[in-house]
Symmetry: D2
Subunit: 154 residues, 4 copies
């Protein structure tokens, strides 16, 4: 099973939400499972896009209540670990897509780069060595496919 | 999404493995998602039964490698939390089924009872107030269905 | 540094509180550091006894606030991990003393026995293979000293 | 109890090690307890400085073995949480000092800024809004003292 992470802030403007939604739809089309933090903003946009495209979505929740996940999470994982759950998202994903994001997202990018996981960046923290920066949701999808193709080839 | 936990030891005899497999199959038939620790023994038996019956299975893994999950896990969650991941299984499940089990399982039963989660017990730690003891995989299934029926009714 | 764990419920009657206090005082006299969950009841009694005897006390807190520790914790560790922090107490302690306790304590005893850590039991869950049951705080102290003596001898 | 965090990489050159050692000595002189990840490099330098100055040092270890802490940790906390333990260091500290550091340190800085904790930076990740950048260990000490003075005054 391909697990593809989407990381980004719990609140965002409509443009970023729609970008996340397209990213989520693209992930579903690859046949992969989307994994994220399960809350609002970028996480909700991505889950929504994935669910609309028939994919499944895992939300690794920081709190104690399944009910706090966004309505497009199909598999809620309830951790009660607070921000420590960020590390689980990174560990679970084969590849991560950072969409915009604040300090929480930066902590996830940092752990991903520390662990040597591929990170695709869209409108996110700039100038970080190791992030594969792209400009559109379509390019995100190509980068994800490229990653899995290389994996198969190697 | 109904999330149904199966807890039990990472190694077991064939009789217990087959009981876990029947429990897993029953869980898949309820339309629920099975969640467990993702390793061998009871966890593998339950995942195998669920997958064979067309269900999906979440493995909340203690280590760093997705590859260490049993072959019947469809959605691996990689935690690197060691035994602390036991708490996540309990929190994520709406209801738990304990099949046989050693001290790891007892720690999960204890957390479940602490949190007030329903626990169905099959060939497991005896004489614990709060466990709904049953004798066969069929009775496990009835107890799970009873739990969700009561939930809807209340 | 010897680390000695005390596990028990967050509320208890006065008799158990006083027993925990004597256990804490005994731990301080061994020169060891007491580690516990940092909250009330048995944890507070033990921390109080240790602090009164000049010892130091580590409280591994489940929540986000240092201020929620009992007033006798000298070193608060703030985890925000909820019940998952129980595993850290067990891992950190070289030997554990269970004083009375409910399901949270049972989860800690279970993890300790799973990991092969010595557990001394005073008025706690009965009939568990692997617990060294004693009847008084003085006997707890002897058992702790015996453990460290054996360790040095081996 | 004042808890002062030191974050930085597990290996470093001698210049950074000596800077960390001076930072650790300064922390001990404030009467605060140093908390860090308990391993080598910056963590070891800081613990060494603190211990040499008579202070106590908490090492929040990622693995399962107390023996893996550096020799200057006086209170080892064994978590077996891997990188998720980074969040505990941030939560436990009242104020954090980042000394140089790589992606692991950046993840800790990010969580600290997310939580609104004060972060003092010495030779660390540049240009981050919210870090109080200083140039010498003496300035670190002044910044720490300033933080606690403001806290008392407010």
């Amino acid at each position: 099973m391909k697990m593809i992470g989407v990381i980004g802030a719990g609140s965002c403007n409509e443009e970023i939400y729609e970008a996340a939604r397209k990213v989520g739809a693209g992930i579903a089309k690859t046949g992969g499972t989307l994994v994220c933090g399960g809350l609002g903003g970028v996480m909700e946009g991505a889950c929504r896009g994935a669910q609309e495209a028939g994919g499944q979505t895992v939300g690794v929740l920081p709190g104690t209540e399944k009910a706090h996940s966004n309505p497009f999470v199909t598999i809620p994982i309830v951790t009660d670990l607070g921000h420590a759950r960020n590390v689980l998202i990174v560990r679970t994903a084969d590849v991560l897509v950072a969409v915009a994001g604040g300090y929480g997202t930066l902590s996830e990018i940092s752990i991903a780069l520390k662990l040597g996981k591929p990170v695709i960046g869209l409108h996110t923290w700039p100038d970080m060595e190791g992030i594969d920066y792209v400009k559109t949701p379509d390019e995100v999808l190509k980068a994800i496919e490229g990653y899995f193709t290389n994996l198969t080839a190697s």
